[in-house]
Every structure is written in C-alpha cells, then in structure tokens.
C-alpha cells in the first residue's frame, strides 16, 4: 500500500489544540510531582495521560492513542489508585514530602533540560522540512500488519510481540506471588 503522502496545510486550529494539550500535559505533570496527597497526584497523572493521548491523535497515530487510553489511563491508573488507597496512612500526609537534597535534584534536572533545548536548537537543520503524513484511515491495519504479518509473511515485530506477551505473563505471576500473604 502507498505508505506516505506529503502533507499540505495542517487542519484549522491545529496550533490552538497543540498549545492547549501541551499546556495541559505540562501543568498536570507539574501537579503530579508537587502534590502532597497521592490521590491528587494520580488524578493529575490521568489528565497528563489523556493530554498525551490527544497529542498522539494530532500526530496521526490513532491506534497508539487508543492503546494509551485503554492501558494507561484505564488500567495502570486504576491499579495506582487501588494501591494508594491500600497503603495510604495518615502519617505520610503530615511528613515532609521532598527529601533533603532537593535543590541538587532540581539543578541537575534544569541542566538536563538546558541540554535538551540546546541539542534541539543546534540540530534543527537535521530535521526534514516537510512532514510526511501517513493516511490515518489504515493506521490500525498497518500496525496489525507490522505486528502480526500480512500477505503470508511474518511481520517485522512478530517475534518481539511474542516476547512482550511472555513479559506480561512473568509480570502477572510476579505480582500475584509477591502480594500473597503466605506463599
């Protein structure tokens, strides 16, 4: 199938959606790491995940957006909320929430961010000028072809897919055994 076409003008209001979703993602990310209450952090993380799913939709990747919503926001965050409610103790809410050397961590992270931005500014010329866009209507089918294979051949990622299923099995077994009271 024809994999790529050159994109013309982007749809209307793309900058509005992008800046809105990006602001939502970054502000919620900030709330995740600064809230004292873990439930508030979890809810902020859900908002971040949904904003990033919206950004995936803008990048013409609907299947990854769907997977993000189902697995991340609908599965992992429910797991997090369960565990928070299980281990939430009153003492934690009254303790100090940042450790003693937090200025060092903050400084190191700011240096990392400066490194990233510097790399982006310097390397801007490496990125191609036009963005090539995949047709969105066949996105799921194309990903299915890459994962499972099509037209009788094995896909590029079939082996990795099988290993990922083994990984999930190991994770399930590990989580079940670790949380048993008597092995």
């Amino acid at each position: 199938m024809n994999p790529a076409i050159n994109v013309g003008a982007a749809p209307l209001a793309t900058p509005w959606f992008f800046y809105g979703l990006a602001a939502a993602a970054v502000v919620s990310g900030l709330l995740v790491i600064t809230r004292r209450n873990a439930v508030h952090s979890a809810l902020a993380l859900i908002v971040t995940l949904l904003s990033v799913a919206g950004l995936y939709l803008m990048l013409y990747a609907p299947f990854v957006a769907g997977v993000q919503i189902i697995v991340y926001a609908g599965g992992i965050m429910v797991l997090f909320l369960f565990v928070i409610m299980l281990v939430n103790i009153e003492r934690v809410a009254k303790e100090r929430q940042f450790n003693r050397i937090w200025p060092v961590g903050l400084l190191a992270s700011c240096a990392l961010f400066a490194l990233f931005v510097g790399a982006f500014i310097k390397g801007k010329s490496v990125l191609p000028q036009r963005m090539i866009q995949l047709p969105e209507a066949m996105n799921t089918q194309a990903i299915g072809g890459a994962l499972y294979g099509e037209a009788g051949r094995m896909g590029l990622y079939t082996f990795a897919f099988e290993i990922a299923s083994l990984l999930l099995l190991v994770a399930i077994l590990g989580a079940v055994i670790m949380t048993k009271k008597k092995i």
Partner: protein, 431 residues
C-alpha cells in the same frame, strides 16, 4: 458559516471524516440533548413502570397522566435539594468525581453509528475508543468512593471497580472475536471502525450473531452478561445495593450530584447496548435485507417507524378514553389526549416521508426516509436491550461479591478465550 453548513448536505460520510466542524458540533449537540432527554424521561419512566408491573403494582400514576411527568418532578426535586458535602471529604475530588463518570459515559457517543453517515465521526479505532473511554468510568467510581471519606463508599467503590475491571477483560475478548469476523470479507482486512463493522455485516449478508453458529452466539452472550456487570446493573449491582452497602459509592452524594451519577449510569447502559447492537445485531440494518429484497419490501419496511408511533398514539388514545370520569382526572385526560395527538402527528409525519420518499434515495425526501429508517432500526434494537436491563433487575436476585468475581474470572474469561480461538480457527479454515 453558511457555506460550511451547505457544503455538508448530501455527503455520505460522517461530518468528522468530512472535516466539517459545524455539522460535527450540531450532531454532538443533538446527541447530547437527545441522550439526556431520553435518559431522563423515557428510560426513567419506562423503568419505573416496567418494574412496577413486574411487581404487580402500578408505579407512578399521579404526576402526569400515567406518571409521564414523574421524571421531570424527580429532576426538579433533585436540583432543589441541599448540596451536602461531608466535612472531612476532599472537596475538589468530591466535586470532580461525577464529572469524570459523566465525561466517560458521554464521550462514547461520538463514535456510535446511527447510520452509514449518521455518526459524529467514524474513527479508525472506533471500537477501541469506545472500550477505552468506558473503562475511564471506573476512575469516576473509585474517586467518588475515596473522596467521600467514609468506609461504606470506599468499600463499595473498591468492590465496584474490581468488578468492572474483571468484566472488562471478558468484554474485550468477546469484542475481539466479533472483530475477527469482519476480516472475512472480500478484501481480507478487518476493521475497528464502527461503521465498517456494520458494513462488513451488510457485505457478508449475515449478522455476526448468526455467523459460525454457535460461535457468534457464544461471544454475544458473553458480551451481554459482561455489559450488565460493567454498568453495575442487577444482578451485578452489589456495589450500590441498599441492603448491603447503604448505596455504595454514591452514599454521600445528594441532589444534583447523585443525579449526575445516575445519568452517567444510564448513558453507559445505552452506550454498551449500542456496542452490542453494532457488533452482533447488525446496527442500522433492517431485518432480512437479502431474503426480502425489492422495492415492495423496502417500502413495507420503511413504514415501520410511522406505524410504531401510530401504535403508541393508539395506546395513548385508549388510555384517554379509559380514564375514570372523575373531575380530578380531567386534567390528566386532557394531558394524555395532547400527548396522544403529538404522537399521532409524529406518526403522520413519518408516514408522509415514507410515502413521498419511496423508491429513490437521491432527493431530499428519499434521503430523509433512509436516514430515519436507519436511526429507527438502530434505536429499536437498543431499546430491546434496555428493556432487557429492566427485566433483569426485576427478576433476578443479586450476586454475592465472591460469586461475582468467580464468574468473571473462572467462567467468562475461559469461555470467551475459547470462543475467540474457535472463531479464529474456523475463520482461517473457511477462507
């Protein structure tokens, strides 16, 4: 704006795919208003009347003629009630929890296909989107139980979310075995888009319910049971049962906030019924399109919307005639008469459209007739499922929580896995 309005008329794709934001917004508003009104009025009234008649009593009879205005009275009462927030509750999260549930239930309506172009947007990942967004409803319940800062809501919320997560697995596997059947068409590629699934059934000439008998039926039954558990309805409503947990996760919610939870629950019921109808029951397709084809049969089947409204109008007129001739009932008699007249007028309108637009599908009346037919058959099938929900609630005792979890993991999951594998094997052999 006028040009954007006019350019969409006559299109054969949903407005989301056509890129027309104005019509997408109009569809969203229509769906939102229609769903809210239907949920609040029709479903509430039918549920109370159906449960009452199952229990050999009459149900609401006073507020309007035969209780038709009861839901409005309930809504008014709930809106005017005092808004009580528990003292130690987490106020922001307490406020936000019903909003999460409502968002999750209503966002699903974007991809529900009422017809081949009557959807807000036909996403490539339609069914994946629906499953994912309805799994966000669990978050609303968990946060509601947590924010109430009381042990009954917390227990109810944890149990309810454990139940929903367990039955989501069986639901997802049943959905996958229906999606597998969409790939048995001429091009050999399946599709996740809701409109594509119904068109695959149309092209293969059989509803997926009857395909590879009994595999389609097994997958459908698994989904039908799992969707009842998914929406916390009887017999899986342990989390909100009054006798067990004092109303579970919405114990501390009163007035308008509680009604938001109920709205979200009924909207979720309609949404999962729509999934079942789209995947197994042929969506907007009328019964027997291949067996009874031809212009005569098309015309007969297109009379159904008008005739069903005429039947409702006839029932309303019979009720008017049979009202007791007391002076107290004069207002109710007049009200029921007006209601019957409205129904009769709608029936007349639909019959006129069916007559004028018969045979062709090019001019305005023909396309209107087609659109009305599609929406009518879809809503009829969804209404059958909603009535089944009420029937289950009236008939069956509720499951104990450990029985519920045992069924979800030890019975439904293996059966749906087996059905999926069998469907895949049969599908490969048939090709």
């Amino acid at each position: 704006m006028m040009q954007s309005f006019m350019s969409y008329l006559g299109s054969t794709v949903p407005p989301g795919n056509a890129g027309n934001q104005l019509w997408a917004l109009i569809y969203v508003l229509i769906i939102f208003v229609a769903v809210s009104l239907t949920v609040m009025w029709l479903i509430n009234w039918v549920e109370r009347k159906a449960l009452a008649h199952f229990q050999v009593r009459l149900g609401p009879m006073r507020v309007g003629p035969h209780g038709l205005l009861q839901p409005f009275a309930d809504a008014l009462k709930l809106m005017l009630k005092e808004d009580i927030i528990p003292d130690q509750a987490d106020k922001a999260v307490f406020w936000f929890a019903p909003v999460i549930g409502l968002l999750a239930s209503f966002t699903v309506y974007i991809v529900i296909p009422f017809g081949p172009s009557q959807a807000v947007s036909d996403m490539n990942i339609g069914i994946l989107f629906m499953l994912g967004v309805s799994s966000l409803g669990v978050l609303g319940i968990v946060t509601a139980g947590w924010a109430s800062n009381s042990h009954y809501p917390l227990m109810g919320a944890l149990r309810s979310s454990a139940q929903m997560v367990s039955y989501e697995v069986a639901m997802g596997l049943a959905v996958v075995s229906a999606i597998l059947m969409t790939s048995l068409n001429s091009t050999g590629t399946g599709t996740l888009s809701m409109i594509g699934i119904v068109e695959a059934q149309q092209q293969q000439g059989v509803w997926f319910l009857f395909k590879f008998f009994p595999l389609g039926v097994i997958a459908f039954v698994i989904f039908a049971i799992a969707m009842v558990a998914e929406t916390n309805r009887a017999p899986f409503d342990l989390a909100e049962a009054e006798s067990e947990l004092t109303a579970g996760f919405h114990t501390e919610y009163s007035g308008l906030r509680w009604s938001l939870f109920m709205l979200a629950e009924y909207a979720a019921m309609m949404a999962v019924s729509s999934i079942a109808v789209t995947l197994w029951l042929g969506g907007w397709l009328r019964p027997f399109p291949n067996l009874l084809h031809g212009p005569a049969w098309e015309f007969i089947f297109s009379l159904f919307p008008g005739l069903s409204f005429a039947a409702f109008a006839a029932i309303a007129f019979i009720g008017t005639v049979r009202m007791p001739s007391d002076s107290f009932f004069k207002v109710q008699r007049i009200g029921l008469g007006i209601f019957g007249l409205t129904l009769a007028f709608t029936a007349l309108l639909l019959l006129v459209i069916a007559f004028v637009g018969r045979g062709d599908d090019v001019n305005i009346a023909g396309r209107l007739r087609e659109g009305i037919d599609y929406v009518f058959w879809f809503l009829l099938k969804v209404a059958i499922f909603m009535y089944l929900f009420f029937w289950y609630r009236a008939t069956w005792p509720r499951y104990r929580f450990d029985q519920l979890m045992k069924i979800g993991w030890k019975v439904m999951l293996p059966i749906s896995l087996g059905a999926l594998i069998a469907t895949a094997i049969v599908g490969v052999l048939v090709k």
